[in-house]
């Protein structure tokens, strides 16, 4: 009796399985070939079962279509099948080719295995920025520098200037007259087999490069946002989030043990929730307010001191004076974030996420205030004082980049090596330091901003950035392996990645774009040097080109678009003055 029941049950299950399979096959037959392949791949079945489904489908396909296909459509469909198959093969080959070209695959895997996904995200970000800079270097070098080198290979350097080693640090002297800076570029239309207008080339290369950067950033942000943003209710889901975010890529025994310990602590905390009393809440609020005021004050103070440093008249050697400002800027960028991390230890944030946000906002405030002061000084004072002011600004940016690099190296020493020594020998209570992902990523973003601002004034700055990022990768990797321990908490790597890209775009990229746009629109290019000498502003290059285009038939639509755009902008400008006047009267 029992046996009969068992057999019937098993037969029923088999029939059920067969009907399920038939439903699946029916669904799959209805799809196109490519969709079908993706649908089969997405099935949570073993490779064996998928092969069986495919065999059933091919069988079915042949039965359904054999008559029609072989008789009527025959060759055409076969060709189509072959074509789509080779197209797919091509796609797979591209994917695997891209993987072979990947840089640093082995090192990244080693880092991910020991330190987890959150630390790995810093190195992934660094690699992404490196690729970005390689692209920007190729674009600039290809369209701006190579034509000039081909046409006029030797730079016109005055006779009494020679190369001394100090130029690498100051960027002035010998470098000033080379293609390194804006001043080394001519404003002529280069002859030869093809006429190459240097002015238009310079303007459009930089403009299109900035636009492409913006688009690439928007795309990364959108895809990262889509993948990682979650309408999470912060009060719920804590336990499941902890349990489900176990990092499967960690292979190091000790790291696994530490994560387990930390997870245990977090879970037992979750099990006992504690409500804060009113006085405790007020105390926390007071502490937060105090530290926020302190950090904002620090940021503003740094900006102001940079301005006074620039404006003051020190009786120092000329070259020492030029080196002083980058030195102080980099020193501030190194020391003040360490203070912010220290503040974090005294404030007790309820969640790790709020702690990281607070740190990030403070660091952004500091760097934005320093950059804003520098840009203001360059736009308003340097632009009016010097003759070849774009090269001056280019040199200042070059020095900032070099000093930033030197201080980043020093930062690894101070931040990680010294903390390790202090944590193990002097104050064992502190313990071995962890790699501070947020602070390091912000440093990278700042370095990239300098490169973006500098692109107009010094087109070869991306080359230095590439060199810097390449060396930085190895320095950070060695410092990480020797000095840091794996993070005890599983960080929220996915959401942090989205925040970092959003940060990169909004304040930093938009800021540098607006600065370059302001320079092109409002400021007068210098008279004696550079591709835009003698013009009222850089943007008038486009006006001149449009006038030239007017003579060529077939390009009337470009002229029409340009004239309408300019008319609209002027209309807005004129009307806005009227509106402001009316507003003033009303007040």
């Amino acid at each position: 009796m029992v046996v009969c029941v068992k057999i019937t049950v098993r037969a029923y299950l088999v029939i059920l399985c067969v009907t399920e399979e038939q439903n699946l096959v029916k669904e799959l037959v209805a799809l196109s070939t490519q969709d079908r392949i993706w649908a089969i791949r997405d099935l949570p079945m073993s490779v064996d079962e998928k092969k069986h489904i495919r065999w059933v489908l091919t069988d079915k396909q042949l039965k359904v279509m054999s008559f029609v296909v072989s008789v009527i459509l025959g060759t055409k469909l076969k060709v189509q099948c072959l074509f789509s198959q080779s197209f797919r093969r091509c796609g797979y080959n591209l994917r695997s080719a891209r993987q072979t070209l990947e840089l640093w695959q082995g090192i990244m895997k080693e880092i991910g295995g020991t330190f987890g996904t959150s630390v790995l995200s810093y190195f992934v970000f660094l690699k992404w920025l490196l690729m970005f800079n390689i692209f920007s270097f190729l674009v600039n070098f290809g369209f701006i520098t190579i034509p000039l080198l081909v046409f006029d290979p030797s730079p016109n350097i005055p006779p009494n200037v020679s190369f001394r080693g100090l130029e690498i640090l100051t960027g002035a002297g010998y470098f000033q007259y080379t293609i390194m800076y804006y001043g080394g570029y001519s404003n002529e239309t280069l002859g030869g087999p093809v006429k190459y207008n240097m002015q238009l080339a310079y303007f459009f290369t930089i403009a299109i490069y900035m636009v492409l950067c913006g688009i690439a950033l928007i795309f990364s942000m959108a895809s990262s946002f889509k993948k990682n943003y979650v309408l999470a209710d912060p009060s719920s889901n804590k336990a499941w989030q902890l349990l489900s975010s176990w990092d499967f890529s960690i292979t190091n025994e000790r790291a696994v043990r530490q994560r387990k310990n930390n997870l245990r602590e977090s879970l037992s905390e979750k099990a006992q929730r504690r409500q804060l009393t009113l006085s405790e809440k007020l105390k926390h609020f007071g502490v937060y307010l105090g530290f926020w005021l302190l950090s904002t004050g620090l940021a503003v103070g740094c900006g102001a001191s940079i301005y006074y440093l620039y404006a003051a008249n020190w009786s120092l050697l000329q070259e020492a004076k030029t080196l002083l400002v980058p030195f102080v800027v980099s020193l501030m960028n190194l020391v003040v974030p360490l203070f912010y991390s220290l503040f974090n230890k005294f404030e007790h944030y309820s969640s790790q996420r709020r702690q990281i946000y607070a740190l990030v906002v403070r660091n952004v405030l500091l760097k934005m205030s320093i950059l804003a002061v520098l840009c203001y000084y360059w736009m308003n004072v340097v632009a009016k004082k010097f003759s070849c002011w774009e090269s001056m600004v280019g040199q200042a940016l070059y020095r900032l980049v070099i000093f930033d690099f030197l201080f980043l190296m020093l930062g690894s020493f101070f931040g990680e090596f010294l903390s390790n020594v202090i944590g193990t020998r002097l104050l064992p209570r502190l313990g071995v330091p962890e790699f501070d992902v947020a602070r390091n990523v912000l440093e990278l973003i700042y370095a990239q901003t300098l490169a973006w601002i500098g692109i107009y004034f010094s087109p070869l700055l991306p080359a230095i950035q590439i060199f810097k990022l390449f060396i930085l990768f190895y320095i950070k990797k060695v410092s990480l392996m020797k000095n840091c321990q794996p993070p005890r908490r599983s960080g929220r790597a996915a959401q942090m990645q989205t925040i970092f890209i959003a940060l990169l775009f909004f304040p930093y990229f938009v800021g540098s774009l607006s600065m370059v746009a302001y320079t092109a629109w409002r400021l007068t290019p210098s008279e004696q040097c550079g591709p835009f000498r003698g013009l009222n502003n850089t943007f008038s290059v486009v006006g001149v080109w449009i006038d030239d285009l007017g003579g060529i038939p077939g390009s009337q639509w470009v002229v029409w678009i340009y004239q309408n755009v300019i008319r609209t902008i002027h209309g807005i400008k004129n009307n806005s003055e009227d509106y402001l006047f009316i507003l003033y009267l009303k007040l």
Binding site: I40, D42, F248, N252, A494
Partner: protein, 189 residues
């Protein structure tokens, strides 16, 4: 249709590329690492099954708290002993790869967490899951009181139909709200 240890045929390679989320490089690397696990005699046989103990010597799985469950879930052997053929191994890597979808990952995560293989996560499964992640010894485990409280919290969060267990769709629903799941559920050779 099996694979001998020496070479993977071109057709087989492209078929694997279509059926899994792995690229050609990853499949070839998997083949290389799998054949390293085989003994001399086994290398000549097609479709060999490698016992779980040898699979667990791989550095990527050695320290993983769920290693035994992973082998068990991806194994297609009749004895349910966790032994894997090469195709099972590819299944494993495909589910844990970068390009696998959230549905695949959450499906397999559910099966891995389902310690008694009954299709739902009940209190016993959840307790074993928590113990797996917090430690094996008595000092590192949660106390009974803490465990009970925690499991109550978990069920409160995720058990929508209030039947005392978490089924696959409830699990997938709660997992879809953890953005870190996809990036952590990864094993790369």
């Amino acid at each position: 249709m099996g694979t001998t240890a020496s070479q993977l045929g071109k057709d087989l390679l492209s078929e694997y590329q279509e059926l899994t989320f792995l690229t050609k490089q990853e499949i070839l690397l998997a083949h290389k690492r799998f054949t390293e696990l085989l003994t001399k005699d086994e290398k000549d046989l097609p479709n060999t099954r490698v016992p779980a103990e040898r699979i667990l010597t791989l550095p990527e799985l050695k320290s993983n708290p769920f290693r035994k469950r992973i082998c068990h879930v991806f194994s297609t052997s009749e004895q349910k002993d966790g032994s894997l053929t090469f195709e099972d191994f590819l299944d494993l890597l495909s589910a844990f790869s970068d390009s696998a979808t959230l549905e695949i990952k959450s499906h397999y995560a559910f099966r891995i967490f389902d310690f008694d293989d009954d299709g739902t996560l009940d209190c016993g499964d959840l307790e074993k899951l928590v113990n797996c992640l917090t430690g094996e010894t008595d000092e590192t485990r949660l106390t009974t009181e803490e465990m009970r409280q925690l499991i109550n919290n978990i069920l409160e969060e995720s058990d929508i139909d209030k039947d005392g267990t978490v089924n696959l769709s409830e699990f997938q629903h709660v997992i879809s709200r953890s953005p870190d799941f996809v990036s952590s559920f990864k094993i790369v050779l």
